[in-house]
Structure formats: structure tokens, C-alpha cells
Symmetry: C2
Subunit: 561 residues, 2 copies
């Protein structure tokens, strides 16, 4: 009997999950809420773009959750013993870089930088580097179009270089004090492995390829000449970063004596390469050729893989990176910038309602026919990540009358995100990537049948739900089981590990045939408005409101007959 640990660093807390390698049984789990800041995030009242986290919380959470899980496991299964744990995998949000010292200590754990915001981990949703991001986009378009083509032609303020450059510009003392920078996904494995020199950290290709312009095609990170265009100090930093990044067929290291003693685990067990949460989440949900995993939460991330020798760029799909999800496969990542956040905006900010209002409104309009409200919305309140790759877009609601209710608008917002999801599926299909099956994970997928049915109806695809409600941590545990190997009681490869350790729930959502025609019609209208406001084309829109009213009249007539 063998187990692996998956450690999942989220936005407000870290979770440890202990999983049985044989069948994916989740024996124990524990969560630790970060102590510092607001719900674990350090903010700055003068600048809404700031979102940082204290690295000390990561270490406290690591020790705390693993110990708790081992204790729980001993209670739950009399025959459990910590020596049965054969590996550890880690995932985290990203791009979340932190500055480290020459001995791989987080700079913020040094007394003189403890309170310094710039010395903390720069959380994925920190947008302070937006000016730098725009400048990187501009410079890359001019000087390195191959770099920028790989990430949808726009470099984000959420990513590695924008953040580090912004630190250099605004907190040069921190930049100068930092020997190197590390993604959180890589730092935790390096800590567990006892790495004392940042140059020795084995970095994952997942964060490197998606967020830091890393590619084998140009021998790793951006060349110094390009980085000098940003700032010569960034070019100099390159020597203190890394030459090569690794996929999950490699170990990040082995559990060092210090942490083995601290946690009560066997020293030397392998630590898997770190990946970003959604990528290990995709693995934990069963991603493989032909399977697309949708992680539906505050935002949405769509991941799939293709094992072909090469993949063409797909316009509007920001992330296609070899090995970023499964070794030997190109990882393809797309996403929607606001999904749960969009519904929360409506409920919390506009309606000023309690969380129960989500369900209340869903019940009010759940049985209505598509198009019956006459509404159409664009899901761009936080910009459009895929397929327009444009942060400078905004929301739209169309078709209101004097009788339109808050519940009808709520449904229109849910439908808008489903149309956005369909747009992504169609774009991927158009470029020859087959999707035979869709597996959803995340809180919304598990708890919101109203939304899931609309997604099925609008996309015309059955929506399955991942068996585990801790798909990210499970994916990390799967990676650990593979890196431990079958001889140690793990698995020989990801395919067999996923076969044994993942599954889908009994309840899935099949498209309602009666809703397809109306939703196809609405998707046609969505596409027109999407393309018009998204700048894809100049489009005749004078008939849109009339088409919506016609559909509304027809659907109401059907309903009342």
C-alpha cells in the first residue's frame, strides 16, 4: 500500500491531499489559511493592482497541512504509516514569482524585508506591472515577434517579466537585494529538496513556457540582448536564473533530511516538478489526447494536450507549450477572465445580495426557454483572454426592457460565459485539435447544475464532472506517483496513473435537444456582437435587437402554448 502527497497552493490557502496510488482514494486532506493580509493577500490601499503574499505563510502551511494529513491518515486507516508515502507533488498559482537570496531563502523572510511589499511573492493577480507589460509587448512585437506570437501577441501584467521589471523600476532596493527570482511552483519543491542555491533549482517548463517566454526554440529564456532593451539589470539577472526548464517526467529533487525530519516522512522520496494549479488540475481530471478539462471557478481555464510532433500556433490561444501539462505532449491552455467573478459582480456589487441569491435567481429563470428574456451579454467585465487576447475590453448587456429582471440578467451573464466557452471550443476545433470529451472541475462545476446544463446546451457537448473535488492536488499527487515509479509502488507513466487514480462522476450534463436551435441562433448573435466590439470586423448590428425580440416572441409563444 503506497500513497503520495499533493500540495496545492491556492490564492487564500494551501491544501495537502494524501492519495492512495492504487486507486486514487483520498485518505486525508487538510487546509491552511494564509495568515498575512486580507484572506491571505497583502493589499495596498493606494493601489488596487497590488496583490502579494508572504512566503512565510507558504512554509508554515506546508508543515502544518502535511502534518495534519499524516495524523488524520493514521486515525482513518489503522495500517497507515508515513513510510508508505513515496513522493510529493506541488502545484501553485502562477505566475507568482518571489525574490530569493543567494542561499534560496525568500527575501521577505529576512528581517529587513519582512514588511516590504515588493519583497513578498507577487501573486498571479497582481497587476502593478501593467505599464511594463505593455512595453514588453511593444518591444517583443518589434524585436522578437516569435516570442510574443507564442502568447497570443500580448504579454500580460500578470506574468513573470512584467512583475520583476516593475520591482526593478519601483523598488530597486529589493531588486538589488534579490539574488534571483523563482516561481512559487518551483520554489516549494526546491525548499523540500533542500536546494541552497537558486541556480540549482529545477524549474518547471509549465510556468517558464507560459509566463516567462521560455522555449527550446530560442534556447530557453529571452536572450540578453532583448532583456537589455527592457533594462540591463534584467539581462544580468538572466545568469542567475536558469538555462533549462523541465517537464513532469523529471524530478525536482528529493526530500531533504531537514524537511523529512520536520514532517515525519522518509528522507529521499522524490519531489515532482512543480506545475501551475490548473495544469496539475487537468491531469487530476484526466486530461489526455481528445479530452479537454475545464476548470470553472472565478475565472475559467481550459486545458488539453496533443501528442503530435508539432503544433501550429492557434490564433487567440495564448498558451501552447511543449510539456507544460503532460510530458511528451503539447499543453494547450485557453481561458476566460471572468466567470464566477462575473456572477459575483452581479450578485454582490450590483444586487448587493447574499451568496444565497445565486441559487435564488437561478431557480427563478432556470426553467425558461433560451432567448425568452430577449437578453444577450458579453462576458468581458475583466477583458477577454481567449480568443481575443485583449484586456482592454469590457462588459455589455443588451436587450433590456422595462420589465427585465435581475434574475434574467443573471442568466444572460451565465449564458455569456457559455458562449465564450463555445467560442474557445470552436477555435480549437478549427485548428484541428480534436476534443472528444469535456471534463469540468472546480467549485462551480460541482455545485451549479443550472450553469452546467446551460454550458451543455450552448456548446452542444456533454459536460462531465471530475471525480475529485481536489483535482489540482490530485494531479500533483499523480505526478509524484509517476516520478516515484512503479517499482516503488507508484506508476510507470501518467497514462496508467490517471487510469488508476482519476475518474468522473456519475452525474453528467447532456445537451437538451430542444434548446439547441435557439441557442445556435443566440450564439450567432453573440458572435456578431463579439466580433464587432472585439474589433474582429465591422458588422451590421441594426438587426440584432430585432432578432432578439423576434426570438423572445417565438419562445414565449411556445412556452405559453
Amino acid at each position: 500500500m503506497t500513497y503520495t502527497l499533493g500540495i496545492d497552493y491556492g490564492t487564500s490557502s494551501v491544501r495537502a491531499l494524501l492519495v492512495r496510488c492504487r486507486d486514487g482514494h483520498e485518505l486525508a486532506t487538510a487546509v491552511f489559511d494564509y495568515a498575512t493580509g486580507h484572506h491571505g493577500v497583502m493589499l495596498d490601499s493606494r493601489d488596487a493592482n497590488v496583490a502579494r503574499q508572504h512566503p512565510g505563510d507558504y512554509l508554515a502551511g506546508l508543515e502544518n497541512t502535511i502534518k495534519a494529513v499524516l495524523e488524520q491518515a493514521a486515525t482513518a486507516a489503522a495500517d497507515f504509516d508515513a513510510t508508505m508515502v513515496i513522493g510529493i507533488g506541488v502545484d501553485a498559482t502562477g505566475s507568482s514569482p518571489l525574490p530569493v537570496t543567494q542561499t534560496n531563502q525568500a527575501l521577505a523572510t529576512q528581517p529587513q524585508f519582512h514588511e516590504h511589499l515588493a519583497a513578498q511573492c507577487w501573486l498571479w493577480k497582481d497587476h502593478t506591472g501593467h505599464v511594463e507589460a505593455a512595453r514588453i509587448t511593444e518591444l517583443a512585437r518589434e524585436h522578437r515577434p516569435n516570442y510574443i506570437a507564442r502568447c497570443g501577441n500580448t504579454y500580460s501584467s500578470e506574468w513573470w517579466w512584467s512583475k520583476i521589471w516593475h520591482c526593478l523600476e519601483t523598488a530597486p532596493d529589493v531588486f538589488d537585494a534579490a539574488f534571483s527570482w523563482v516561481e512559487l511552483t518551483d520554489w516549494i519543491p526546491s525548499v523540500l529538496s533542500g536546494v541552497q542555491d537558486p541556480r540549482q533549482i529545477k524549474r518547471g517548463v509549465c510556468a517558464a513556457g507560459h509566463k516567462a517566454f521560455y522555449s527550446d526554440d530560442w534556447h530557453g529564456l529571452p536572450d540578453k540582448e532583448f532583456l537589455s532593451l527592457l533594462d540591463p539589470k534584467l539581462a544580468a539577472l538572466r545568469d542567475r536564473l536558469y538555462e533549462r526548464a523541465y517537464d513532469a517526467s523529471h524530478a525536482a529533487g528529493n526530500l531533504c533530511d531537514e524537511w523529512a525530519a520536520k514532517l515525519g516522512l522518509r528522507a529521499g522520496i522524490p519531489i515532482a516538478i512543480g506545475e501551475m494549479d490548473v495544469h496539475y488540475g487537468a491531469i487530476g481530471s484526466g486530461v489526455k489526447d481528445g479530452v479537454l478539462v475545464k476548470a470553472i471557478g472565478t475565472s475559467t481555464c481550459d486545458c488539453t494536450v496533443v501528442s503530435t510532433a508539432s503544433v501550429d500556433d492557434i490564433p487567440g490561444i495564448c498558451g501552447i507549450v511543449k510539456g507544460s501539462i503532460l510530458p511528451g505532449h503539447y499543453g494547450i491552455e485557453a481561458g476566460q477572465s471572468a466567470v464566477g467573478d462575473l456572477f459575483n459582480w452581479w450578485i454582490d456589487i450590483v444586487c448587493e445580495g447574499e451568496v444565497t441569491l445565486h441559487e435564488e435567481l437561478s431557480l427563478q429563470v432556470g426553467l425558461r426557454a433560451p432567448g425568452e428574456s430577449g437578453l444577450l451579454a458579453l462576458d468581458w467585465n475583466n477583458g477577454n483572454r481567449t480568443v481575443l487576447v485583449d484586456q482592454r475590453l469590457s462588459g455589455m448587456i443588451l436587450g433590456q426592457t422595462l420589465h427585465t429582471t435581475r434574475a434574467e440578467i443573471y442568466r444572460a451573464l451565465v449564458e455569456a460565459t457559455a458562449f465564450g466557452a463555445r467560442m474557445i471550443l470552436e477555435r480549437i476545433a478549427q485548428y484541428g485539435v480534436a476534443v472528444d470529451r469535456i471534463v469540468c472541475c472546480g467549485g462551480i462545476a460541482e455545485k451549479n447544475p443550472f450553469l452546467m446544463q446551460i454550458y451543455a446546451d450552448i456548446t452542444g457537448r456533454t459536460m462531465q464532472v471530475a471525480g475529485s473535488n481536489q483535482a489540482c492536488a490530485l494531479g500533483a499527487a499523480i505526478a509524484a506517483s509517476v516520478i516515484a515509479g512503479s517499482t516503488a509502488g507508484g506508476h510507470a507513466d501518467f497514462a496508467s496513473a490517471q487510469e488508476a487514480m482519476t475518474g468522473v462522476r456519475e452525474r453528467s450534463y447532456a445537451p437538451n435537444a430542444e434548446h439547441r436551435a435557439a441557442y445556435d441562433e443566440l450564439f450567432g448573435l453573440y458572435t456578431r456582437v463579439h466580433d464587432a466590439f472585439g474589433g474582429v470586423a465591422t458588422i451590421e448590428l441594426g438587426s440584432v435587437m430585432k432578432n432578439l425580440l423576434d426570438l423572445k416572441d417565438r419562445q414565449r409563444a411556445v412556452q405559453s402554448s
Copy 2:
């Protein structure tokens, strides 16, 4: 010392106002709420388009309010005496036709029709005749393009022929029992004058010209050949209607003995021709060449007059009728279908707030710079009356982020109605109708400085507010003073009556120069979206959201500096 009475029939109540001819002093006023139906309107739970009123309520209200006013006046001014009342004027909502018997009794006051919905007065906002309206539009476009050109190329379900035809189609018993039909504006004067035969009623050109296709250009009402295309029974009805309609230089009649006795007034005093409420409201607010009156309420009506010999059709302006407001002038009427109703929709239905929320939200965003929210809305939740003349349009809100508040959207809706108002002003100006001054009346104009300032800023025009808060009743009283004539203690003409009896308040709203540039920019964006969704043209919209975000960034930078 002389006085006239203005009687104003609104949607839920009737008001009487006693006004001193010399200076417009309002000595007494009284309101009577209609007893029948919901807030005075008879509804049908099976059909939301139904809105009827019981004519018995009109008569009860007439007697009740006039008696109350005379009583009050006697208390307020010791020297007052009912013989000082030298005339009565009446205004009402319209088109609000009712079926009458051969002796000019309202059909609904006959016992067998008392409860019959079709026998009541068909209130202006009754939309049951929408199919008939579409058919009339179609037939007129084909056979009588000159008719339909006069009302913006679309005949409304709110108007005379749509309603009467719908009665014929759906309640033939009522149609057959009715000897004739009369607009409420004409019926009340005929009752006061003791007219016993509907063919003897002196009808006002205001309702006739704006709602019933009446014009001197084609010798009155539509010809029988055209009406036969609708239904031969309508052609037959024409003989029992009227040959000629009159402007306010004519009397509708003189107070009959029966009503003189009932009210305690002198028999024989003149009764002015009836006009629709907003038209007499324009007179009561001081409309004349170069003055535009905006009645701002649930919807908005803009009225002005030109005294030129002829006026060209102005595309998108539904109503240009000779004598419909002031004798000897063309009356020009434009309007917006939802103004107060739009704000009420947001507050009542979406926010589910109390009435106090209007002011609360206004205060939250009243001091923000234009464009600071990044929002842009279209004010079409109830269609667009002017300049698109299209009921099959709907609302739109654009530019939302995840931080957009209900207050910001509220302001965007107010701004949207102001952009719509500017669109009307620009269209009128474009066709050579000069507007030197704008006088606003109605509850919103009097009580909502937040809105009034935005209207001034967006239109770039000073907004004055009418002196009377009973502008419609005052206008009717003015008409009565003119028809009574100067020898009887009234006035020789409308110009001198308005000079003496109307005014504007001290507080007016001048455009804030600092807001003009941003609002011009926003109006440019509004125009693009307006024309695109309104079907005026195919327009590039890919830059709209970016322009809004740019403006927002600039305005926030200014605010914070």
C-alpha cells in the same frame, strides 16, 4: 379680478387648478384619484397590453375637483366669488378614445357595458392594437405614404385607429353599440358644453392631427377608400366622426346649464378646445417660437412651435401638426419613450430598492467626472420614439468591469437619456428649427438637480424650469383665458396670456464648461452605438470599449491629481 379653470386628466388622477388671469397666481388646486382599477387603470391579467379607464371616474373627478377648488378659493381669498371664473380649459392624456352613444353618453356608463373592458376609455398606454398598428403602417406605406410620413413612418399601437380597429376586431358588440368615438380631450369639453350629438363635438386638431391621421392637406380624416382597406365598418364610422378639427383659437362650446348648476359656475362661460396634456403643458411652460419645452416624467415629451408658413417633414420627428399647440403655429413634438421609467426600472426591478435609492445613488456618483465610470448606455428599454421611431429596440449597457457599481449604472442611464435628448435637439436644429431657450417641466425637472445638471452638461444648453408645477393645467387655464377674451377679463391672445401667466424659476442649470469635452466625446461614442444598433448605418465598433477605457483612465487621473 378674473380667474380661469384648467382641468388636467392624467393617468391616475384628474386635477383642477384655479388661476388668476392677471398674473397666473394659482389660487387653488384639487386632485381626484380615479376609483376604478389599479391606480385608476383597468387591467387584464391575461394581457399586459390592456390599459383602460372608466369614464364615470372622469365625470366624478370633474365635479369633485372643481367644487373643491371653488371651496378652497373662497377660503383662501375672501373676495373670491365663483362668478369671477370666466372660462374652463381641459387637457388629457392621448390618444385616449372612448366609445359614445348617439346622445354622447360614454358607452361604459350604460348598465349593459359598465363592466365591459372594451367599452371603457382606451388609455394612451393601451397597446392591445399592436397588430392593427403594424397593419395600418403597412397599408399606409403602400397606399397613403403622405399619411404615414406625417407620423415618422410608423403608426403606433397607442393611437386612435389602432385602438378602434382592435375593438372592432375583438369586441364587435361594443363597436356596433358605439355610435361614435371621441378623444378624452374632446369629450370632457363636449360634456361641459352639453353636446348631445357626437357629430356636434368640436374636436381639437391636437389629438386629431397627431394621432388620427387628420390633416387639412387631405381634407380631414383618412378617406373612406383607405379606411375600407382596414375594414368597411371603419369607413362607415367616418361619417359619424368629424369633418373638421379646431385649434385653440376656437371654443369647444359654452358651459351648459346642467353643469353650471352642478358646479356653481356661471352658465355660458366658454370652454376651450381640448388639447393633449403635454401640449397645454408646453403653453403653461411658455412655449413660443425659439422656446422648446421638455416635459420630463416617466417618458419625455419635447414640444416647440414655429410660426412659418410651412414646415418640412423632419425625419424621425413623429409629430408636426399645424395648430396642435398654439394657433397659427406648427406644433412640433418629439419624445423619449422611457426616462423616469428607465430609472424606476433600475431602482425598483433590478436593485429592488425603495424610492429613496434614487437620491442615494445620485449622491454617490453626482460628483464624479464624466466618463469616469467607463460606462455607456442606450436609453431604449421601451423602444426609441425620436429620432429612430422604432419600438422594436431595447436597452444596452456597455463598459462594465468587475467593479462597476449600481450607482455608476444609474448615472449611465441618466446620461443615456440626456444623450437621447441631445440627439433630438440636434435633429431639430439640423432642419432649421431654432431653439434659443429650453424650459423643463414635470416632476423630474423640479426635483432632480442631479439629472438636470447632467442634461445641461450633455446638451450644452442651460436648462430652465417652468414656474408652475402644474404646467398642463395652467396651459389649459391659459387657453380658457384667451378664449374668454380680454373684454371678459381674460387675454387677447396666447402671447399676452403667457407673458402674464407663465414664468421660470430662479434656479436654472447652466452647462459646466469642465464637463463639455468629455461629454462631447461620450456623445460621439453614443452616436456610433446608437446608429449601429438603430440600423442607421454599419459602423466600426472595435474601438468603442477602448475609447471608453481611455477616457476613464484620463478622467480618473484628473480626479486624483
